[in-house]
Symmetry: C2
Subunit: 231 residues, 2 copies
């Protein structure tokens, strides 16, 4: 008897044919109905497998144009957007944080541009230092658009940090993330307990709820931090 045909077995089979270069980059592969016939299953099952491979970047599909092996079969990595408390507690360390400052202020030009916000609209700025078992871990500089987040004025961030409060209370519809590196300023060095100029891993994130920006945040991690993922 033959093994059952599931979309996973088809996925593996097609992956192998690409991997072994039976189907080379740029090459057209058989259409769904042919594969279904060859494998003895429904077309929907083939579709499920090929769609998965296309989502992952190994195939390129077009109506009428057929399905091709991607010219550069680039894999796509999925990154969980880290929740700092989980990150730290997952390593068995204790998570604490301090709100260093909190005030309404006019954001600098750079932040206004990234949030696409008018000149004279004040935002809530919150600076937070996050610690892992007492040791400085990450410095967060966040701007929040009060117009997008009802109730933000009355929130006390002593019990829950701004990131998690926003996650639970102001889901966004889209956003942008940028990863980069920066030398620690004198201020950052002092807060994070590293030498001035040390290389910090930086995440900049802006999120939107429809047309309205919700928050812009810059996270600066201590020098030995690494963001990891599997592909």
């Amino acid at each position: 008897m033959s093994a059952p045909v599931t979309w996973q077995t088809i996925y593996d089979d097609v992956f192998r044919r690409i991997s072994e270069r039976t189907w080379k980059p740029g090459e057209l592969i058989p259409k769904e109905s042919d594969l279904a016939l060859e494998l003895g299953c429904a077309r929907a099952t083939v579709n499920r497998a090929l769609r998965q491979l296309a989502d992952e970047g190994l195939l390129e599909r077009r109506r009428k144009g057929g399905t091709r092996v991607a010219i550069n079969p680039v894999r796509k990595a999925t990154l969980d957007i880290p929740i700092i408390r989980h990150e730290i507690e997952a390593r068995g360390e204790a998570y604490t944080y301090e709100v260093l400052s909190r005030s309404m202020a006019a954001p600098p030009k750079r932040v206004r541009a990234r949030m696409r916000i008018g000149d004279d609209i004040p935002l809530l700025q919150i600076k937070t230092l996050h610690r892992s078992s007492g040791a400085p871990y990450m410095f967060e500089d966040r701007w929040i658009n009060p117009a997008s987040v009802s109730g933000i004025g009355t929130v006390n961030f002593d019990d829950i940090n701004a990131n998690e409060w926003l996650l639970n209370n102001a889901l966004y519809t889209s956003g942008e993330i940028a990863f980069s590196a920066a030398n620690a300023s004198k201020l950052e060095a002092g807060l994070l307990n590293v030498t001035t100029g040390a290389a910090l891993f930086v995440i900049n994130r802006v999120t939107w709820n429809g047309p309205q920006s919700v928050t812009a945040v810059r996270l600066a991690y201590v020098s030995d931090y690494a963001l990891r993922t599997k592909i």
Copy 2:
């Protein structure tokens, strides 16, 4: 007449209910068959929408346990693993590179551990400097396992860089990526034309073909580089 029900409309509808906190984090949402009845469509269509939301991290699903809004509705970011030539050419710059060195060598302990390779197995080491319109852009230090890549010995990397050659000739089945920041060593600073100690954005990647490691590579980008993605 009512609008047609597609999995996308269901996706949007459920997203809105989560966003507006009709269904709160941790809460159980109706089962697929109920939603299908309510929306007047097939269960498979509901399944398609909910699976998408679960893949993106907004829902958690379990057989028998039902579907819940994720406690921390963390969005997952997908990033394309950048192909440096495309990155540079997409900005209208000219891509060039130089192979600085190429030799069989015993890798240092750190690399051996990451590739899970024995003590005395020599690997091919290739160091490459990538340029954008002439300006140094990224320094690549790569180790390749010849046992995993047939034909690597005869390849001339003057016409195609190692990364793209491997993508086209040695697809991997799994891998790990780590993003971090590092201060430029004197050597790196010289190559990348930055000051010693400048913060570099670093990507470390190891890839596997089944049980066998294929390549381990460290990419150090010039200081103003940022890896961007949308969520």
